[in-house]
């Protein structure tokens, strides 16, 4: 392994939370959704279809452990014992490796369902910018998928691509968006196709005398280009919502919304939770149909 850098600029904040207004003991069904992504893992616990607790952390090298860790992190602030969970659905890239899952559901279905819950039933286009893929999903008022397009072959436009850049430029990933606007003039976008090429272009721009912030802007706008091309192919219908970690990066999102010509919907929830929330909601629906009892 490469020796640890003094500071890991790509490292984003891991969070967990519990809803103080809900007592799980009063609920009928406690359901769990676990989204093991390629970069981050989330566990969302819902009581009767409402957010009760969640944990959001980085995926480790082992999917079952990542699922267990995310669940333990979500349970940390609660008094809920694990065996009181009625049903668990696994989703995401590592969904078949979620040991406690009763079944798995694709992340496309979960993101659409989760966005429908987090942003409300008006959402028609969901853009999920995840760690190693981008999905553009069109859905109906129930959060059911009508059509989708996905790029999971190439790092351009994904969260991993942004992590590589944060590291290259030694800028903490949470500051990238803000700093990319601290510039006098918007620079030309770097290569929107390959992150490897964009990296060499960026090094070239730095040597030419562009500031770190300008290079960040050039990359954010390349990311926005790349994401937009996928979105344009699936067709954008209002209302439009963004899920995944990239939704927190203003540098990309503000540039993207200019191209789309639509204001993305806003939410108080962590956008990384959509997949796991969708999974927990599917679990709740199954419990209501009587399929999840007896666990």
């Amino acid at each position: 392994m490469a020796e640890e850098k003094e500071q890991e600029f790509w490292r984003w904040e891991e969070t967990n939370w519990v809803n103080p207004d809900i007592k799980w003991q009063n609920g009928e069904f406690v359901t769990l959704g676990i989204d093991v992504g390629s970069v981050s893992s989330q566990a969302v616990i819902m009581v009767d279809g409402q957010f009760y607790a969640y944990g959001n952390m980085r995926t480790g090298s082992d999917s079952p452990d990542s699922a267990r860790n995310a669940l333990a992190f979500a349970l940390e602030k609660t008094d809920l014992p694990e065996d009181k969970i009625h049903y668990c659905i696994g989703t995401g890239y590592g969904r078949v490796n979620v040991p406690m899952a009763d079944r798995s559901v694709t992340e496309i279905a979960c993101h659409a369902r989760g966005a429908n819950f987090i942003y409300g039933p008006h959402v028609r286009t969901v853009l999920d910018v995840g760690g190693q893929d981008i999905k553009a999903i069109r859905c109906d008022d129930k959060g059911k998928v009508i059509n989708f397009l996905m790029n999971d072959k190439c790092a351009a436009g994904t969260g991993r691509g942004m992590e590589v850049f944060a590291d290259l430029l030694s800028v903490p990933i949470g500051e990238v968006g803000e700093r990319s606007f601290r510039i006098d003039r918007e620079p030309m976008a770097v290569s929107s196709t390959c992150v490897v090429y964009a990296k060499s272009e960026a090094t070239g721009l730095l040597r030419k005398g562009l500031s770190t912030n300008e290079v960040l802007a050039a990359y954010c706008s390349a990311m926005a280009d790349r994401i937009y091309s996928l979105l344009a192919r699936v067709g954008v219908e209002p209302e439009f919502a963004i899920t995944g970690g990239m939704a927190k990066n203003r540098g990309v999102i503000d540039r993207l919304k200019k191209k789309v010509g639509l204001e993305p919907m806003k939410t108080k929830w962590d956008t990384q939770l959509a997949g796991a929330a969708g999974a927990a909601l599917f679990g709740h629906a199954l419990c209501k149909k009587g399929k999840g009892k007896g666990k």
């Binding site: 390629s38 090298s61 790092a155 991993r160 691509g161 590589v164 196709t193 992150v195 490897v196 090429y197």
Partner: protein, 258 residues
Amino acid sequence: MITAGIDCGAKNTKTVILKDGKIIGKGIVLTGFDQAQAVKESFEMALKDAGISQADLAHVGGTGSGAKSITEADVKVNDIKAMAAAAHYFFPNARTVADVGAEESRAAKCDEQGGVVDFAINDKCAAGAGAFMEAMSRALETPLEQIGPLALTSNNAIPINAQCTIFAESEVVGLIHAQTEKKDISKAIHDAMAGRIVSMIRRIGVNPDIVMIGGVAYNPGFVTALQRELGVDKVYIPDKPEFASAAGAAVVAATEGR
């Protein structure tokens, strides 16, 4: 007649001096950020190597991704034409030529005279270029010169699922964590990259003799993987394969210069 060919590539700039069909001088420098300066240096290096001066040259051919910076050239030679001419120059029976460069890979189908019949290019994605190998050598913490020979010591076929260089880096780190042997990972890397190049070659057809040029041809692990993926016994490689396109440009300059 004496001609020169200059190939200004993404990583290196090469010059070859050709006298009546024989190479009499060579020069190579890192391209860096000043292409014109790199061209000048490699050109002067080659002239010195040949023991001649610029005035002795009948024509100068320029090629490569930085061709526009070659002010010394009076004949502009496109990349595909240069590689086909080069393959024909070194191996007259060449019908398919693959050039795997630092940031670009190309395949050309050529005729008996070294003319181009068809071609395919990948300049959008690092997965089929030398940059992929460099990234993998970093991930494996094994120098570039050693990963090829290391791959040859493995008989295990483990797949690399990721196509993207960035994703493959994480995948290799994952394999290292899973205690996979370095030689097996190294073989997997070479197989993956050869697969990418072969899928590009298949678009224009696999017609022997097959010639490979470009710096990646120095990597025996890659050449072996390429032969295996193509299903051929031999891929022909010229001596000093990194100079091949420059030689091709010098050949074209001799025939087309006026």
